[in-house]
Symmetry: C2
Subunit: 238 residues, 2 copies
């Protein structure tokens, strides 16, 4: 049986931890949820960029580009779309290239590129993602993005859901995320309420993004498995 | 209300995370459980030392010293006692100085010294420890020791128990450890069985130390709160 490992922050990765493995990058609120939804609704690809200025330069050079993302949860000046998955409507994005920069998720994607394969994981695509991983058969490391360098409970809940669905032999860290997910779902009476107990969910709800938090908790609604080709710099739907 | 934070490994501490706070170092299997038991049974103090050679030098210079500790779970050549709490019987250790070197716990103690106060936490002293912390009133960071640079579930379970008992306002990482503890206790039917699900517990049980694992899970059996004075280099019972 393949093995399953996890880190609560990309900064916790150690040398060779990703070698020969599948990395699943998780930023439930909201980058990886948004990437899944953008590809689900028809962008041709997502180009994750670490900095706002870098995203502006890359988007300027591509005629079909939409400049997307956030800093501090808010859309920067001149950006077409923010980081809310609900903004990515088919009529707006169909066939376009989404150049995306976010505070935590795009950074985690770039920090995971030592893996053989980098997938984008969300609660919304958990079933398709786990099917993909099982068919592939390689070992897996779940890479939670966190928030501003701090562990985010909602990312660990998403990771715990993947641990549950895969049923692989788990490291202690992956097992902890599974037990935390199961314990919190039991205590709060559902995954959405568990996610809403997190620091970052409360902050987003306070900013008026409560609908995004609820959206991010709809388990398995999308069949998209985004794959990040770090050489080309693009995420496409598999 | 004071705040409560946690790290799953001392390597995860970031700048200023400990400043002005109480650090509680946790190495359930077995260093911090052993330190609590050694002080409970009458050693005058514990001197935690990072290296085996360093421990030999320090013990050689003190007439009343007992050379104690492990590498790979086993007592090094020439050491009087290993890292099993059950070896620390009053008749053997009364009034002696315990010079202790272990693979993970003593390292974590030294990595936590940026805190205002460094306490030694175990499941066996959880009630006394939390009473001490509540009386003191400062903010707290739980520092799990891990095993050979990897997150250890049993340390996070111990941390989760402290989060539960303190009832402080918790960071997401501390909250995750609480939910993981609660979920695993529920799933496995008790704290001891949850601890025994961890990688390190299984390894110790395989080496014949199952009785140590059971001992480490006896919540609140000791009223000792060990305090590490990093200037003097000694841990004494408060």
């Amino acid at each position: 049986m393949p093995t399953l490992d996890a880190v609560a922050l990309p900064d916790h990765l150690v040398a060779d931890q990703l070698r020969g493995k599948i990395a699943v990058v998780i930023d439930i609120l909201r980058a990886t949820t948004t990437i899944v939804e953008a590809l689900n609704n028809g962008v041709s690809c997502v180009v994750p960029v670490a900095s706002v200025d870098g995203a502006r330069v890359i988007a300027h050079d591509r005629e079909d580009a939409l400049l997307c993302g956030e800093r501090g949860g808010v859309r920067p000046d001149g950006f077409s779309l923010g980081n809310s998955p609900l903004e990515y409507e088919p009529s707006v994005i169909n066939g376009r290239v989404c150049v995306l920069t976010t505070t935590n998720g795009t950074r985690a994607l770039h920090m995971a590129t030592a893996a053989d394969e980098v997938l984008v994981g969300a609660i919304t695509n958990v079933e398709a993602l786990c099917d993909w991983i099982r068919r592939d058969g390689r070992d897996v490391v779940l890479v939670c993005s966190g928030t501003d360098g701090r562990v985010s409970f909602e990312d660990c809940l998403g990771a715990g859901l993947i641990v549950d669905r895969l049923g692989y032999s788990s490291s202690d860290n992956a097992a902890m995320m599974f037990h935390a997910m199961e314990g919190a779902v039991e205590r709060f009476g559902g995954l959405r309420y568990a996610v809403e107990s997190s620091f970052h969910a409360k902050r987003l709800i306070g900013m008026g993004f409560g609908v995004d938090v609820a959206f991010a908790c709809e388990a398995g609604k999308s069949s998209i498995v985004p794959v990040f080709d770090s050489v080309v710099g693009e995420i496409i739907a598999d």
